[in-house]
Symmetry: D2
Subunit: 272 residues, 4 copies
C-alpha cells in the first residue's frame, strides 16, 4: 500500500485498522502477503503494521551482503516515518531476531515484544544449517526439500498432505525457481549469520513474551529457555505439537498469544 525510503532503497509497508500500534516482523521466507488469514483479527482493535524487510516481498532487493543491523535501521526509519513514539513488535524467527536486535538499540521505542520461534544468537549449528540452505539454492526441489520439511512439525506435515503438496508445487514451480528471489534468500540467510544479542540483552527490561514450539527443529525450545533466562521481564510459553512455522500450525494460538499479550493492561501486582 505504501513505501518509504531507507537510504536509496524503497521499503514496502501496509497499515490496517486503528488502535495500539503493532508491527509484525516476517520470518525469512515470508512477506506482507503471508499474513492474509490474520489481517482481520489483528486489525480489529489495533493499528496493524506489516513490513517487507529489504530483500523481501515488495521492498527493494539488495545487491551485496549485509547484516540484520540494516533491517533494524529500516524498522527504525519506519517508526520515524509514521511518527510512532512507541510500538509493540511481534517477530517470528528472522523477524524475532531483528526485533531482539532492535530492542537492544531502541528499547525506549518498544512497548511490548512478542517472539515466536526466535534464537538470541546464530550458533555454529544454525549457521551450518543456513549454509546448507544456501548451497541448495540453485535447485528448486533441493531447496524445497532442504528447507520446508524441517520448518514444520512431522505431525502437521504428515497430516496436511494436500496443502503441503500444493505448496511444494507452487514453491518449486514458481518461487524457488526465481533467481532473483533465491538470490535474496541467500543474502537474507547470510545477514543472520552474525546475529548475537547475548550481551546486548543485559539490562533490557521490555515486557516480552517468548513462545517456543515443542517440535521446532530450527530454533529449538532450549534456545528460548536460554533467552528467557537472559531477558529479565519475559514470560515463556510452549506449544506442544507445533513446529517452527507455528503461525501456520497453530494460528488461533498465534493470534490469542500475540493480541492478548500486546493489548492487556499491565497488572498491578502489589494488590496480590
Amino acid at each position: 500500500m505504501a513505501y518509504f525510503h531507507y537510504q536509496d532503497k524503497k521499503v514496502y509497508y501496509e497499515i490496517h485498522g486503528e488502535g495500539k500500534p503493532l508491527i509484525l516482523l516476517n520470518g525469512i521466507m515470508m512477506s506482507t502477503k503471508s499474513w492474509g488469514i490474520f489481517l482481520e483479527a489483528f486489525s480489529a482493535s489495533n493499528q496493524l503494521i506489516l513490513l517487507d524487510f529489504l530483500d523481501q516481498g515488495q521492498s527493494d532487493k539488495m545487491t551485496e551482503d549485509f547484516t540484520q543491523d540494516l533491517q533494524v535501521e529500516v524498522l527504525r526509519t519506519l517508526l520515524a516515518e509514521l511518527n510512532l513514539e512507541k510500538v509493540s513488535l511481534m517477530g517470528i524467527s528472522y523477524g524475532g531476531e531483528v526485533a531482539l536486535n532492535f530492542v537492544t538499540k531502541y528499547a525506549d521505542k518498544v512497548d511490548r515484544l512478542v517472539l515466536f520461534n526466535t534464537s538470541h544468537r546464530t550458533s555454529p549449528w544454525l549457521k551450518d544449517i543456513g549454509d546448507a540452505w544456501n548451497l541448495s539454492s540453485g535447485n528448486a526441489m533441493d531447496y524445497y526439500l532442504t528447507t520446508i520439511p524441517v520448518i514444520y512439525s512431522p505431525e502437521f506435515y504428515n497430516r496436511n498432505r494436500g496443502w503441503m503438496d500444493a505448496r511444494k508445487k507452487l514453491l518449486t514451480d514458481t518461487v524457488f525457481s526465481n533467481k532473483a528471489f533465491m538470490d535474496s534468500m541467500v543474502r537474507l540467510t547470510r545477514s543472520a549469520e552474525t546475529h548475537d544479542v547475548t550481551e546486548g540483552l543485559k539490562g533490557v527490561t521490555t515486557r516480552t513474551l517468548i513462545v517456543s514450539s515443542e517440535q521446532d527443529y530450527i530454533t529449538p525450545k532450549e534456545e528460548q529457555m536460554a533467552l528467557h533466562k537472559l531477558l529479565k521481564n519475559s514470560d515463556h510459553v510452549i506449544l506442544p505439537g507445533a513446529g517452527h512455522g507455528s503461525m501456520y500450525e497453530k494460528p488461533a494460538l498465534f493470534t490469542a498469544l500475540t493480541l492478548g499479550f500486546v493489548n492487556a493492561k499491565t497488572l498491578d501486582m502489589t494488590v496480590l
Copy 2:
C-alpha cells in the same frame, strides 16, 4: 455486588465493565475476591462476571453433600438471570471442571472456553488426594501443609518465601481455622469426586483453549494432553516453570491467554 437465587440459596456475583461477556469460574479455595489483580485488565474491554459457587465466598453454604452438577445449574441460572444468550467461560481447576460439565449440557450457551489446570475426570489418584485434604481438615496447619505446597511449583514456592509465609500465617490463623469454611471445603472437595465428562465431551465442538502447567502436581499436564485429544476444537499450551496455581504464578500469561483467546476474531482459515 449482587445476588440471585438458585432454589432456596443465595448466590453472589459481580459484574465489572462492558463488552463481550466473560465469566471466571473459581478454583476450589477461591472466591470472587481472588481476582483482585485481574479486575482492571479483564474489565477493560469485556463484561467481566465473577461468581461464588455455592459453598464459596459470599454465596450460601450448603448443609449436605452435592455434586458439581449443582454448580452447573447455578451457572445456568446466572445466565438466565442476566439474560445472556452466550458467554465465554474461563475455569481454573474446580472451575474448569464445572465449565467442562456445563459445556456437555449447554454447549449452545458457550462461545469460547478457556481451561487452566483442569482434568476431565477425577481419577482414583485425584480422589485419594482429595480424601487426604479432607482428612486433614480438622487441623489448620495440617490442612495448609497438605494442600498448599503442592498447589505451587517448587520454584515459585521457594522463591517467594515472604509471600508464602504471609499466606501460611493468614490461612492457618484465620481461614483454615474457621469451621464453617472448612466444612464447605470438605463438601466442595467431595462434590468433585464423581466428575467425569469423558463421554459427555464427544461431539462437543466449542472452541477451547487448554492450558497446562509443566509442574502441576494436582492436574498434571498428561491430563490435559488426554483432554486435548477428547475435545475436537481445542488448542493446547504449556506453561514451563509453573504449578497448579498458574493464575498467581504467571498472571501476565493467564491474562494474555484468556483475553487473547476469548476476544480474538475467528480466523478465516480458507484463505490459507
Copy 3:
C-alpha cells in the same frame, strides 16, 4: 542376615552374590525387604549389599532427632566392617540423599553412583511437604492418603487398582498403625530437613547416573536437571510415564540402568 554396630546401635545388612560390590540405599519408607523382586537379577554378577538405615527395617530405632550425617557414618562403618575399599552406590530418594552426602565426604570410597529420584537439597517446598507427612502421622489412613498417591504417577496408581488397594489395606491396617514405625518415619523425615550438598558437590568427580521420572511430584525432574549441572561427571536420563516410586513403576528400567551403569567398563573416549 547380619548386623554390625554403629556406636551403641545395631545395624542390619544383607549380602547376596559375588562380584563388583553394589550397595542399594533405601527410600524413606523402604527396608531391605523392599528389594525382593530385584534380588536375583542384582546378585547375578554383583556382590549385592542391602542395608537398613537406623530407624529402618531391622536396624535399631533411634530415640531422638538426628540428621542424615548419621546415616552417612553408618554407611561408612559398613564399608569398614566389610573391608570394602571401593563400592558402587545406588540410592533412591532418601537413599540418594545419603549417597550424595556420602560422596561429598568419602568420594574415594565410591566407584560409581546411581541416583534415582533424588534432590541435592531439601527446599522449603519439600520441607513443608515433609511436615505435612509428619502432621498426618497420628492417623494411618490420613498418612496413607497424604504420602502414597503422590509417590506414584497417576497413570500407575489408576491402572494398578488391585495392587494399590491391597497396599492401602496392608499399610493402613498394619504398618502405619504401628506407633514405633510411625515414630521412626517422623524422625527419618526430620533427618532429611537440613539436607543440602550444593556446596559439597563442587569438585566431586564421581561417575554418576542421575535418573528422573517425568511425573515425580516429590523430587521433580527440574531438581535433577539442577543436580546434573552441579555434578561434573554425571549423565542424566528421564523416565516418561513414571512417578517418584520409579523402582516399582519401571522395575526393568531400574534394573537395566543400575546394573548397566555400575558394571560397564569405562569407555576410552580418546578413540573417538
Copy 4:
C-alpha cells in the same frame, strides 16, 4: 574379520568376546568401524557381533535399488551362519528400523531388542528429508551441511567445535567425495522409504527398550512415544540434551542402557 554370502553378495561381520550374543545394527552412515570406543566394554561379557549391511563398510555394494527387507534377510542369514538360535539386537536409526522389521518376521530369534532413535515408519516428512539428502549427494559440502548438523543436538555440535570441524574436513575431503560411497548412501536412504511396521508389530511381545533423544530432529521423541504404544512389552527412556546421534553424544548412557537391558535377568514380578 570374516565374510559370509547372501545370494551373490559378500557380507562383512566381526565377532568380539564371548557370552550372550548381541548384534549391533548400524545407522545409515555407519559401519563396523564406527563402534571402536565401544568394543572393549561391549565384548567384556558378551559375544559382540558387528555387521556391515549391504552397501555399508566392507560388505558388497548393491547396484540397484532395494528395500530394508533385504537387510532383514542378510541378518537372518548371519544368524544361520553362526548357528545362533536366539540373539539380542541393538539397532540405532536405520539399524533400528531393520531390527523392528526383523522382529515382525523372526520374533522367535530375538531375545531382547534395544532401539535407539528409531521410527516405526518412514513418514512423508521423513521421506522428504531423505530426498533432500539424496538431492545433495552430488556435492560433498552440501551433503555434509544437509545431513550432519541435524544429526547432532545443537548443544553437542556447538560445544565440540574441534571434533566437528575435524569431521567436516574428513567427511567432505574423503568420504562424501567418494562416488561409490555416495551411490551407496543414496540407495540405503531409498531402501528405508517404504519402511512401515505399524501392522507387523501387532502381537509382537519381544522385550524391548526404546530410547529417545530429547533433541532428535530426524526421528523425534514423539515417534518413539507412538512406537512405545504399539509395542506391548516395551519400556521407554528419554535422553535430555542429546540429538539423533545419541551413541556419540551420550556414549556412557548408550553403553549402560544397552548392556544393562540385554544382560539383566528377567525380574519375577509376581513377588511384588
